[in-house]
């Protein structure tokens, strides 16, 4: 399925890149201050990338051939709702998973 060269390039590339991110400042830059605009952008990378990755998977799930799917949509909505109210990822996952299975069961 996944080409071997691609796979190892990606594993090593992400591993090396992530280590450089982690080591970069603490190891190399030391105590020199960073421009605030860089830190400002870095703060939003996770919340900017992950929702964009998930959104198409929620609306057009590959498992249903890209058709909007009520149980999956409901599970996503519940996960977000519980996540925002409780601020607890684990509880959000549990509620999301229960919604998904309940929905899939009801949908037959």
């Amino acid at each position: 399925m996944i080409d071997q060269t691609t796979l190892w390039t990606v594993i090593i590339g992400i591993g090396l890149g992530s280590y450089l991110f982690r080591f970069g400042f603490i190891g190399i830059i030391g105590n020199r201050p960073l421009p605030p605009w860089i830190l400002r952008h870095l703060r939003y990378t996770a919340v900017a990338v992950l929702p964009g990755l998930v959104a198409p998977l929620v609306l057009w799930p590959p498992a249903t051939g890209g058709e909007l799917d009520a149980p999956r949509l409901a599970a996503a909505v519940v996960t977000v709702g519980v996540g925002i109210t409780t601020r607890n990822p684990l509880i959000a996952i549990i509620f999301g998973a229960c919604t998904l299975y309940a929905g899939l069961y009801l949908a037959g």
Binding site: M1, I2, T6, W8, T9, V10, I11, G13, I14, G15, L16, G17, S18, Y19, F21, R22, F25, I26, G27, I29, G30, W37, L39, R40, H41, L42, R43, Y44, T45, A46, V47, A48, V49, L50, P51, G52, L53, V54, A55, P56, L57, L59, P61, P62, A63, R72, A76, T79, V80, G83, I84, R87, N88, P89, L90, A92, G96, A97, L100, Y101
Partner: protein, 236 residues
């Protein structure tokens, strides 16, 4: 509570980090299972987890490889997810920057969401701590989390393909990511960054090579940064 020994900060770190095992464990299992279902063998799956130790980036990379995205797009997207590690590193530098190089090199590898989040909070609450105490606390937060990342990845890889299709595991990744993201949406800037990212990733889903995600991610980052600059919210 704050005894002036190095042992107590270490145990404080362990105790504070232990509950995160409930999140990290299942997430690692998920990665192991999804990787195995995508056709990775045990060695490949474990190498992935050991080299990267960052679930979101690993799952992002995996998902894009399954989608047959080009290598450069896979790398750029997964690394973008991990860019926050650079921020963590920068933010820990004033506290741990005085350690010997090899200690910093090792600590850098173990900078993950949990060790960073707990440590920076503790360091700010205890400005009197010296380097030894800070390092001890940091290692304390690493101990109950990182080793289990490997162990539970292996558990996932071993149960891997035995999970029946009716479990709808395809949707475990969206649920996990949504559950991780939503508690992060603390400010208007975070929320706007996420919304811009969602809208643009849907609008640009037609772009080849999953480039839509890169457009959405960049625009989301810039939105968050710009709103923060305008509102001058001081963060963390």
């Amino acid at each position: 509570m704050t005894r002036q020994t190095t042992k107590s900060p270490f145990w404080m770190g362990c105790r504070d980090a232990a509950p995160f095992l409930l999140v990290v464990g299942p997430f690692a299992v998920l990665f192991g299972v999804v990787a195995t279902e995508a056709g990775l063998n045990l060695l490949e799956t474990m190498t992935f987890s050991v080299l990267v130790i960052a679930g979101a980036a690993q799952l992002t990379g995996l998902q894009l490889m399954v989608d047959q995205a080009p290598v450069l797009v896979v790398l750029a997207s997964a690394l973008a997810v991990n860019l926050r590690m650079a921020m963590y590193s920068a933010s820990l530098t004033p506290h741990l920057g005085g350690a010997p190089l090899w200690t910093r090199a090792l600590a850098a590898y173990f900078i993950v969401d949990q060790s960073y989040g707990l440590s920076i909070l503790k360091f700010e609450q205890n400005p009197g701590w010296d380097l030894r105490q800070k390092l001890a606390y940091f290692w304390g937060t690493v101990a109950p989390v990182c080793p289990f990342w490997y162990v539970f990845t292996m558990v996932g890889a071993l149960i891997g393909t035995s999970i029946p299709e009716s479990f709808a595991l395809d949707f475990a990744l969206p649920i996990c990511f949504l559950a991780i993201i939503t508690p992060m949406l603390r400010t208007r800037a975070h929320l706007s960054a996420a919304l811009v990212s969602i809208v643009l990733s849907l609008l640009f889903a037609w772009l080849p090579y999953n480039l839509g995600l890169l457009v959405a991610g960049l625009a989301g980052m810039m939105t968050g940064a710009e709103i923060e600059r305008r509102t001058e919210v001081t963060h963390d």
